[in-house]
Amino acid sequence: MKKLLVTLAAIASAAAMAGLTSCTAPAALVLHENPTTAKSLFPARSLILLHLRDIASDISAEDLAKARSVIRNTPYASVPRELQHIIERYNQYSSDLVNSFEELEAVLDRASWLTSEGRLAEARRELERAKVALSRTERLIQDLKGAARTVANQLGAFAALAPAKLTEAYDQLQRATETLESQREKYRRLSLSLEAPTAKEEAELEPTEVTLDLDTAKIFVGESMIASGSITSRGSSLPNRRLTILVNGRPAATVHAAADGSYQQRVEIPYKYVPSMTVQASYTPTDNDLGTYVASVSQPRQVETTFLETALDIRVPDKALRGLPLTVAGAVTSPDDAAPGKRTVRVLLGEEVLASFYTQGSFSQRAVIRPQTPAGSYPLTIAVDAEGPYSGISRQKLLEVMEPSLAVKAPQFLFVPGSVDAAVTISPEIETPSDAVVRLKLGENTTVLNASEHKTFAGTLDVPLSLVLIGPQRLEASVEGLEHKGPLHTATRTVVVINLANIGIVALLLLPVGLIARKRMRGRPRTDYAEAGLPKGIAEPAESTPPLQTQRTTRFGDEGSRILAAYMKAAQAIAEARDVPVRSHQTLREFIGVAALNGAVEAFMELTATAERTLYSAHIIDMAEAVRAENLATMVEEVMKDGAS
């Protein structure tokens, strides 16, 4: 029996542990791997060459935007470490080459336009720039070819047994770099094609001269001045010609020359807050003058420009929490003017405008950093826009945007009924906006915490009632901003809730039960059984019967021995079932008293009587009695076993 129970218990435990093992085995529905243990693999060598080929091809095809995109991706290519440096060099040459081709295109376009405008001197200057750019592209193409050869060599493209794919890839790369030569040649021919007519035109056309005078050498921005002068050609005036007055190279006014070739025009100085500006008068031939006269520009005149300066003082924090507002303060003043007027101020984080407002002096403004802003350092710019004669100004400071973390301070053990005093600290400890809403939630109960002096939020929360005796619950803290619905940041803490009320009730219910059960387990007193009396028909054994265990069963003959053996067997069964040992000083009858039999009473009584007759009387025991005794013992044993199970 014992062995069976032990075996069953062991099997049950093993099955439970096996079940747990299967519970912990992760599901494998989706195919993905742990990226930290992913094995590094390098691509086929030919792919590296093909990527370099793509760069050269895009440049040759004048798809410079695409070329830039491919160049930008190169650092992300998986290449062997020994190749990284040379591939970076190739990338750099490619990038410089793209810049040079872009510059060439722009310069030659401008030279062509200037020539068509008759502005031959300027066109000539642009063509000189083009020559320099062409020289640079030639050098870069040679460097690029060299880098490509080096990469191919390191990849083994020139080896005797190089794979066909690798040699094919290098051939494609080589062809692509050769086409760069063609591209450069195209630009060179274009440049030459512009030089010849420029020189020819310059020799055939009539020169013109433009003069310029200004009525003032110093002017306030926004004010106007008088520009005057004349336009002539080889000393003869050119009447009714249209001239353009340029301020810092930009057209500011147009004027027509009078019959004597002179002109006069009011020119407004733009609102540009620089110390001086350059004014020129420009003549460009049109209509019948095209092909006759050369364009010309007057000598530049410098005019000193003045304006009202703006001063800006700012007070901004070094750190801020994303999702929560920060306060920027300061003052906009003008040293030259006591009353600067209403000015527009913008607060920018990087390029994003956080706030825009008006001020007439001091200001203190909230600006909210979007919750989606990644943590990091950003330039925080406070910019005051220019307004009329007042210049603009900006101040910049580095702001570290941080991810706030909440720390919940509360007791580990909470008792029901009761309340908990909790505090939430937002870290890092920087200026926390006073209007941030911090909530604390436990189960169904929520409370809003109040800001305290020490930059924490504290409050009291009632522990919600529940019927759980003891168990973990989540104490959740969250921060909300006024501009954003819902919690911005949350933190939780697990606390153990002990329900004293429920524990008391359950204890009260179970206490009497426990006491009663304990009492029953200890056994009946002897008097109970004695008062019940013996069943009828059973002879009462003598009280002075000596203890059984001192007797030797061998002297009673076979039948007697069998009866005593049966009695011992039954007594042992009772002793195990009732946890009542057979003591040496006990008589048979005393043993009945302490055994507190609930079942098989009659059988054991009869057996006891038989055993006592065998021990103490001169009665001759026959076989039937012995058999009867053994049957009684078996019966008692079975009853005891049934009672135990």
Partner: protein, 299 residues
């Protein structure tokens, strides 16, 4: 007798011990919100303040300024499909992250032409350590590319049936779909660029299709610019949109089912009827010897 008592106590003690282990042992199943391992979503939940949407109940999914993330490892039921359609039509943003699962069932129900190809996308040149972790650098949409230079995927697939205007991210020209499973580009296998992220408008809302759910897991969220990329994708539903994650189609692991059962049991026992039943059972068992004794006396 002593041994018998101990043996009788062994099964309930074992059960309680197992229950405690199951309760506290961390989940290790793929895409579980409480799994802190490399394949769980614990970091995603913390970073984006995501809430579970265990049951696709319309009442718990306010369509305005919300994003519902779905990883359909299991099929949807008809009522669930209807609820998802209503959610999108009412203005919600449904983000379907799938590669080899059941995303196409949902797309078919929504009446879209877009499909997940269900084939592995490999990139032998632009990748993170392995061709199975391709790197995506082609992000034509500014709203997705803000602050993102490259995104790393993990055994992704690709999209088909999306128009050029709908594509938000593409793989490199060196990528390919491994149709025959040999890990090498074949002559008949489609090569890149291939779309991996797209957005389709339905009614007042939109459906965002991402051909790799593994970008959400803890092990991937810190690689490259994945975090900023995910932020941009979820912001498609509106800046600061509340994020919900549907867990009910992530597959069922035995440990998680056991945790769920324990949680249900805990909840039931916490309820008034449950607590009364428990107390009643304890009383019955405790008083059994007395009742048995009374029964014998009467007999």
């Amino acid at each position: 007798m002593e041994l018998r008592r101990r043996l009788i106590m062994l099964p309930p003690i074992t059960i309680i011990l197992l229950a405690l282990i199951v309760w506290f042992y961390p989940s290790s199943a793929d895409f579980r919100l409480d799994n802190p391992g490399w394949n769980g979503l614990e970091k995603f939940v913390a970073e984006f303040n995501a809430s579970p949407a265990t049951h696709l109940q319309r009442s718990s999914l306010p369509p305005g300024r919300t994003a519902l993330v779905v990883v359909p490892l299991e099929k949807f039921t008809e009522p669930e499909l209807l609820q998802l359609k209503d959610y999108v039509s009412s203005g919600g943003m449904l983000a379907v992250f799938d590669d080899y699962g059941n995303g196409n069932q949902l797309l078919d129900y929504l009446g879209l032409e877009a499909r997940f190809t269900g084939r592995p996308l490999l990139d032998p040149l632009f990748n993170h350590k392995s061709e199975w972790l391709p790197r995506i650098m082609d992000l034509p949409a500014i709203r997705v590319a803000r602050g993102v230079e490259s995104v790393v995927l993990n055994h992704p697939s690709s999209l088909a049936g999306v128009s050029r205007d709908e594509v938000l991210a593409r793989s490199s020209a060196f990528s390919f779909l491994d149709l025959d499973g040999d890990g090498a580009p074949g002559e008949t296998e489609p090569t890149g660029p291939l779309p991996v992220l797209a957005r389709v408008m339905i009614g007042k809302g939109s459906v965002v299709l991402m051909a790799d759910p593994s970008i959400l897991i803890n092990g991937m969220i810190d690689i490259g610019d994945n975090r900023a990329f995910l932020r941009n994708v979820l912001d498609i539903g509106g800046a600061g949109a509340r994020v919900f994650v549907d867990e009910s189609h992530h597959g069922k692991a035995p440990l998680d089912e056991a945790k769920k059962a324990l949680a249900v049991t805990h909840g039931a026992l916490s309820a008034p009827l449950g607590m009364m039943g428990l107390v009643g059972t304890v009383l019955t068992l405790s008083l059994r010897p007395i009742w048995q004794r009374k029964g014998e006396r009467v007999g």
